[in-house]
Structure formats: structure tokens, C-alpha cells
């Protein structure tokens, strides 16, 4: 009846695991109690969960990412503490639990922190930047959110019921095969990734269609803000790369569940096929994670240098070149597979080639800074911290691209240092910069800058302290994923690395305080003009937060940096006249997307535990709900032109009051609103 599910699934094997399960359960209960006591359920359902508005969906994506970041970070802390004390001792974590921790840390950071973080930021920003009223497919957008959330919920479930995979975030067979890992762990990994992967794919399709079909009049591709370009490239990579992951995990599931022989050691299986498929997705994935951050940095560096970005066209071409090249380097993740020297040489050279467009970008950013009037707000600090730190990671990457060098440090913590050196300053700092930069646009008030800076400095110094020692340790021969060791020379460096994570923990605390303080002082930090940074692209021309329809009258774009140019021309907030307003339609809320997400969760959970009837139920519910949606009519809601006109007139009048004398026409609104 309940497949493999029984009382044995409870996490009594490790005190730390049991505590984590307890915290997770109590956390969920606390949220339920809080919502019930404050009578917020209806509000939550109507205003948020069922919303199809891109900004709200984007915010929910980011909330998922931040919650999961907290978990993944605690896991990093446990890993570092374990390694710091585990010299000639068992440390405080059982071996298997340690293996679960590095697996969940990696899987969560990639699939449930960085992916939803960047998807959320694109959701919030992209339609505003291209002058659109929403994404092309608002309902599909909600499906993506709820599938990703279902995947995250599945990972959280594994804390309480059963165990997660111990096979690392890349889940190589044979280790994750049915013989070595017969438990539910790899199945949790497979299904969490599958749900997140489908969610990402539909998000990617949505972003591409939005950029292609919903740009405002005059917004040619080469006038798009760079964040839109990177969103486009990332989405293309998602659409073409994720199928490889879907196939890899599905085939592994067939092997495990039905005894197929794709990746087994016997009967003609070929485990290197899994590794090839995994990295055929995995390397483009690196750029999926990093390109939106590049886009955010381009916006941030230009805005806080108060000049236009240097080399716009070269940044566009570099982005697209990276996108194409990202499909030609996957084999560098396993030079040691034993391919011929020619094959390894090809992939080594391609890997070095991909550093060229990346280098172009770095120089473009430097030249944007050059002779700019720099302002060092929190987003800008992250951008500069990124520039310096990311180059170090890039250089070690070129080093790893040389196959003989790679052989000597393969699978060592040198590699761990390298990819954290790319993804933390590259992707995560990019998301933090984007978060601080666009927070006022999404929510309506700025984040407290002082706590933001403190968070940045702890993150930056903590990063160096945590990961520079790993380069040295890697060269000293330390393998990755060791839960204990007997080499006395390693311990001082591991203690230093653990200290680095403590510094990062201080950074995380600062960020939590920043959120609290900003919320407390939200009236003082209110972004009344909608243009808190003297911004350059169209998102800053609308109110913060923007109305449900974003643009009552869609803007007509004549140049790059459209909003900046219109401020210079004195046409920032024009009155298009009553006749320009028409009725518009916005999507009505829909609970179906939430239901489909949870039906998919039920399907995945049942597949993990092999509860056939429940899986069939989940699948049938998902399909029927989609069909139900296609029979719905009246899924949009009309907003009369008069409402739109009144809203815009009210906003123009408010802007005039904020900045007396009509200085607003010259972009003074921004400086007027800043203390």
C-alpha cells in the first residue's frame, strides 16, 4: 500500500539529522500557526499564491531561493566545521550524513537557490525593461514557479522522511545505481531535479517568447538593456540544455526502478554515457547561472558609474558567443575519462577560448567604471567585489583547462575552490547585487544600505578566507568530499576555511537584519518616485511597485538607455493624452497552477517511495487540471481606460509635488528623492 514508506523512514540515524528534521517540521508548523493566528490565509491565497502577475511570481521565486539558501548555507557550515575538526577523528557527523550534506548543499544551491533566484529576478525585471505588461504566458509562468516549489518541497521532505542521495550533486552511477544505493536517496535527487528542470524549461520558453514578441514599439533587439540580452541567452541555454539533464535523470530512474541497463556495469551499460549527458547539460548550466548575473552587473555598473555601459555591442556578442561555446566544453569535467589526447586537447582549447568573450566583458565593465562618477551603494560593492574575485576564478579555470594540470588536481578541493570562486562572486554576488538594486522596484522601498554594506564585506572577506585555503589544500593533494583525514598539514587550512564560513555567516546575519531593518523603516525608505538610483532603463520610469498593468500606455522607445535619454530630453514622464488610453486585459488569478504543482509533488513523492496508486493519482490529477484549464473561459479581467488614465494622472501629479518646479523633466526626481 505504501511502497517503501514505513516508520524506518524517520531520521533517527544521526542527532544532527533528527534535529534538522525537527526544525523543518517546526518551521512549517510555525508558519501555519502564524498565518492562522493573523488570519492571513485568504490574503495569502488571493494576493500571492494564485497570482499570475510577473512581479508577484518573481518575488515568490526569490522567497523560495532565500529560504533554500538558508538551508544550503547551514549545510556548508556543517561541512566546514566537520572538516576543521575531523583530523584523525570522526568529527561530529556520521559518514553517511556528511555525504548527504554535500549532496544536498550542491543540489540545493544550483537548483533551488541560484535557479529560482535568477528566474525570479528575470520575472520581476524583464517585462518592465522591455515595456511589456507581463510575460507572454502568465499561467505557464505560475506553473514554472509551482513545479520549482514542488521540487524544493521534495528536498525538504527528504529531511524528514528517508534520506537524500549520498552520491554528490552530480549523482554519478554506478554509485547512484540500484546495487550500490538501493535506498530512496537517489530517487529523491532524481525527482527533485526533474521537477525543477521542467519548471526551468517552461520559464525559459516563456522568457524567449516574451522577448521575441512583447517588446515595446521601437525596442529593437540592439536597444534592449543588457539584462534582457543575458536573460535571452540564459533562456536559450535552458531550452536546449535541460533536455539532456531530463534524459540523464530519467534513464537513471529507469535503471534503478525497472532494471534497465543504461549506466550499469554489466549487460552493456555505459556509465560514462551518464557523465556525458549530465555535463552536456551541466556546462551550459554554469552559464545559465552566471549570465543573468553578468546582465545585472552590466546594469549596476553603468547606473552607479552614471554613464552608459562601455561596448554595448561587444557585451551582446560576448554573451551570445559564450552561449554557443558553452555547448563545446562539457568534456573538461572528466578529462580523466580516458578519451584520446586529441579529444582532450580539443576540449581544453575550447575551454580556454570561452575565456576570451568573458575577458571582453570584464574589460567592458572596467572601461565603464573608468572616468565614471562612481557611487558605492551595496549593488555597486557587489559588482566591484565580483570583478576582482571572479578574475581569480577565471584564471584557475584556464589552469584547469590544461588536461595534464587537470589530471593532477582532478577531484581535489582545488576544483571545489575553483567553481565556488566562479559561482559565489559570479552568480550569487550578481543575484545579491540584483536583489539590492531592484528590491525597491519590486517591493516599493529601498533596502537599508548600511546593513547591506556590512553584509557585503563579511561575504567578500569570508569568501576569501573560506576558499583560498582550498586552492592550497587541493595542490597538497586533498580530495573533495572527505569527512575525515589523517594529514596533519591540512588541518590549519581547514580551520581557516571554517573561519571563513563563520565570516560568511556574519554576512548572512547582516542580510537578515538588513531585511528586518528595511521593513521596519519602510516609510523612510519608501521609493516615492520609482527611480531611486537615477536609473537608465524603462523599469525605473514606472512607479515602485508598478501597477498590475505596468504600462497603461506602452512606451515608444527611440534609443538604448531609453529612460535615461528621455530624462535628458525632459520627456521622462510625458502625458500621452486621454485618447491614448484603451481598456486593457490582465490575467485573473488562478489556483490551478498551485494545484498542478502539488499534484506533481504527489507524483514525484509517490515515485520516490514506489507507491503506484498514488503516483497514478498525481499524474492523472496533473493532466486533468491542465485540460480543465484549456476549457476555462473568462481568464482575463478588463481594466477600463479611465482607471488607467486616472492612475497615470495621479502619478504625474504626485511626481510634480515631489519635485517642485518641474525639475522632474531632467531626471532630478532621483536625486531629489535620495537623502
Amino acid at each position: 500500500m505504501w511502497g517503501r514508506l514505513s516508520a524506518d523512514a524517520l531520521p533517527v540515524y544521526s542527532i544532527v539529522a533528527a534535529a534538522a528534521a525537527g526544525i523543518a517540521v517546526l518551521g512549517v508548523l510555525a508558519v501555519i500557526v502564524l498565518l492562522t493566528v493573523t488570519h492571513r490565509w485568504t490574503w495569502l491565497w488571493r494576493e500571492w499564491l494564485t497570482s499570475l502577475n510577473h512581479r508577484r511570481i518573481g518575488i515568490m521565486y526569490v522567497i523560495v531561493a532565500l529560504v533554500m539558501l538558508l538551508r544550503a548555507f547551514i549545510e556548508a557550515l556543517l561541512i566546514r566545521v566537520q572538516q576543521a575538526i575531523a583530523y584523525d577523528s570522526g568529527g561530529f557527523l556520521p559518514t553517511e550524513h556528511f555525504a548527504q550534506l554535500f549532496t544536498t548543499h550542491g543540489s540545493i544551491m544550483i537548483f533551488f537557490v541560484l535557479m529560482p533566484f535568477l528566474t525570479g529576478m528575470i520575472n520581476v525585471v524583464l517585462p518592465l525593461q522591455i515595456g511589456a505588461r507581463d510575460l507572454a504566458f502568465p499561467w505557464l509562468n505560475a506553473i514554472g514557479l509551482w513545479l520549482t516549489t514542488a521540487g524544493a518541497a521534495l528536498v525538504m521532505t527528504s529531511l524528514v522522511l528517508g534520506r537524500f542521495s549520498t552520491g554528490g550533486w552530480s549523482g554519478y552511477p554506478n554509485y547512484t545505481g540500484a546495487i550500490v544505493s538501493p535506498g530512496v536517496g537517489p530517487d529523491y535527487w532524481i525527482w527533485a531535479l526533474t521537477l525543477a528542470g521542467i519548471g526551468s524549461t517552461v520559464a525559459g520558453i516563456n522568457f524567449i517568447a516574451t522577448i521575441w514578441k512583447l517588446r515595446a514599439p521601437g525596442m529593437t533587439l540592439m536597444r534592449m538593456p543588457l539584462f534582457c540580452w543575458t536573460a535571452l541567452c540564459t533562456s536559450l541555454l535552458i531550452v536546449f540544455a535541460f533536455p539532456a539533464l531530463t534524459v540523464a535523470t530519467s534513464l537513471l530512474w529507469l535503471d534503478r526502478t525497472f532494471g534497465f541497463h543504461f549506466f550499469t556495469q554489466t549487460d552493456g551499460g555505459n556509465m560514462m554515457q551518464f557523465v556525458n549527458l549530465f555535463w552536456l547539460w551541466g556546462h551550459p548550466e554554469v552559464y545559465i547561472l552566471i549570465l543573468p548575473a553578468f546582465g545585472a552587473f552590466s546594469e549596476v555598473i553603468a547606473t552607479f558609474s552614471q554613464k552608459k555601459v562601455f561596448g554595448y555591442a561587444s557585451l551582446v556578442f560576448a554573451t551570445m558567443a559564450i552561449g554557443v561555446l558553452s555547448f563545446t566544453v562539457w568534456l573538461h569535467h572528466f578529462f580523466t575519462m580516458g578519451a584520446s589526447p586529441n579529444v582532450n586537447a580539443f576540449f581544453g582549447i575550447m575551454t580556454m577560448v570561452i575565456a576570451v568573450p568573458t575577458g571582453v566583458k570584464v574589460y567592458d565593465w572596467l572601461f565603464t567604471l573608468y572616468r565614471g562618477r562612481l557611487r558605492f551603494d551595496t549593488p555597486m560593492l557587489y559588482a566591484i567585489g565580483f570583478l576582482v574575485t571572479f578574475v581569480i576564478g577565471g584564471v584557475t579555470g584556464v589552469l584547469l583547462a590544461i588536461p595534464p594540470v587537470d589530471y593532477t588536481v582532478h577531484n581535489s578541493v582545488f576544483l571545489i575552490a575553483h567553481f565556488h570562486n566562479m559561482l559565489i562572486p559570479g552568480s550569487l554576488f550578481g543575484m545579491f547585487a540584483a536583489f539590492n538594486f531592484w528590491f525597491p522596484k519590486a517591493v516599493g522601498f529601498r533596502l537599508d544600505d548600511a546593513w547591506g554594506r556590512r553584509g557585503f564585506w563579511f561575504w567578500l572577506t569570508g569568501f576569501y578566507a573560506a576558499f583560498m585555503p582550498l586552492y592550497l589544500l587541493g595542490m597538497m593533494g586533498m580530495s573533495r568530499r572527505l569527512e575525515r583525514y589523517s594529514h596533519p598539514g591540512w588541518q590549519p587550512w581547514l580551520v581557516l576555511a571554517a573561519f571563513g564560513v563563520v565570516l560568511i555567516a556574519a554576512g548572512v546575519v547582516c542580510q537578515v537584519i538588513q531585511l528586518y531593518v528595511s521593513w521596519r523603516d519602510r516609510e523612510a525608505l519608501r521609493d516615492a518616485t520609482g527611480d531611486p538610483w537615477d536609473g537608465r532603463a524603462l523599469e525605473w520610469s514606472v512607479a515602485s511597485p508598478p501597477p498590475e498593468w505596468n504600462f497603461a500606455v506602452r512606451p515608444r522607445v527611440r534609443s538604448r538607455d531609453a529612460f535615461h535619454e528621455s530624462k535628458v530630453e525632459g520627456l521622462a514622464y510625458p502625458d500621452p493624452g486621454r485618447d491614448a488610453y484603451r481598456d486593457i486585459f490582465v490575467p485573473r488569478n488562478s489556483g490551478l497552477a498551485v494545484a498542478i504543482g502539488w499534484a506533481a509533488y504527489v507524483l514525484a513523492f509517490a515515485a520516490v517511495w514506489r507507491i503506484g496508486w498514488l503516483a497514478a493519482l498525481g499524474l492523472a490529477a496533473s493532466v486533468l487540471l491542465v485540460i480543465w484549464r484549456s476549457f476555462q473561459t473568462g481568464t482575463t479581467e478588463r481594466i477600463p481606460a479611465q482607471t488607467l488614465y486616472d492612475y497615470d494622472r495621479g502619478r504625474r501629479e504626485a511626481l510634480m509635488r515631489l519635485v517642485p518646479g518641474g525639475e522632474i523633466m531632467h531626471g532630478a526626481a532621483a536625486s531629489g528623492a535620495r537623502p
Partner: protein, 202 residues
Amino acid sequence: MTAVGSAAPSMDRVDDDENGKSAFGFWVFLMSDAALFAVLFATYAVMMRGTGSGPGPAEAIGLKYAFPETLVLLTSTLTMGFAAMALHADARRSLVVWLGATLVLGAVFLALEAAEFHGMAAKGDTPQVSGFLSGFFALVGAHGLHVTAGMVWGLAMLVQGATSDLSAPVRSRLGRFALYWHFLDLIWVGIFSIVYLRGTLG
């Protein structure tokens, strides 16, 4: 004031598809699905040599079912084309007939494929035998699952085509269903050439 202007009226609605965003989005999805099949084809090519102690392609694969399957599916693409023409002509009756014919042919295809799989299993050629047979069943089965999903979608569209007013959303969906069906046909041509012809003749 000419700095801004209103866009084409069609852009003011989010639910219709006058600027073709749904069709465009569906093409992007098909590209993604094509990438999925490309990876499955590549996997099959790699697994072909992994026969273990089981049969090779020449012994396991035959044209007995695959050839009629191909004829049936190609014909269903033709009937789908007639259905699309009926839609353009606003001929509801004809649309329903051709769409129905397409689905019947789809069902025949699936029945033939099920018989083929069943026959192979009866000979002992199950996916559990070898990497090669795993690859065969995954690739051909993935196509079969796509056709099955298409049957579910097609039935929903048959109901909408028969009962609704052929409004813009219904037309858009029917158009996308036609794309999907033709796409599956195209994939089958690849499967027939690479799996069946190469398996039996090569």
C-alpha cells in the same frame, strides 16, 4: 505629445494570440523537445554496441510492425493537414471528421507499437536484457509516450472543436496541436531510418 504612443491594439490583450506569441512559444518548446530526442538518439547510438549477452539490432528489430506503423503515422499527418485546412475554411464538421480520423490512426499506431513491444517481450527481448535494448525501448517508447500525450490532447481538442465556437484560443490550440502532431511524425521518420532501417538492413 508624440514621445509615446499606444501600440497595436492586439498587444493590449493578454489572452489572444494575434501576434503569434503562443505559436512562437510552442515552436520554442518543440525545439526543446527536439533536443530531448537528439539526446535520446545519441544515447541509442552509444548503447547500440552494448548488447551484453542479448541480441543485436539485426536479431531484435524487424520491420513487421514498424513498416505499417510508419504508414499509419504518415497517413495521420495527412489527415491532420486536412483538419487544419478545414479549420481555415471554418468547416467545423469536416474539422471534426479529419481530427477524429487522425486520432483513430494515432490509436492504431499505438496498438501496433504495443503489439510490437509485446512480441519482443514474449521473445525475451525486454529492456532489462541489455544496454542496447534499454536504449531501443527508451527512444521508441519516448516517442510512443509523446503520441499517447498527443492522443489525450487531441481528444480534448476534438471536444473543443465540436462544441465551442472556434474562438481565437481554440484555433490557436488546434494550430499548435497540428504542429505537435507533425513534429512527432518527423521524429518517427528519424526513428524509422536510424533504428529500424539501419537495424535491419545495416
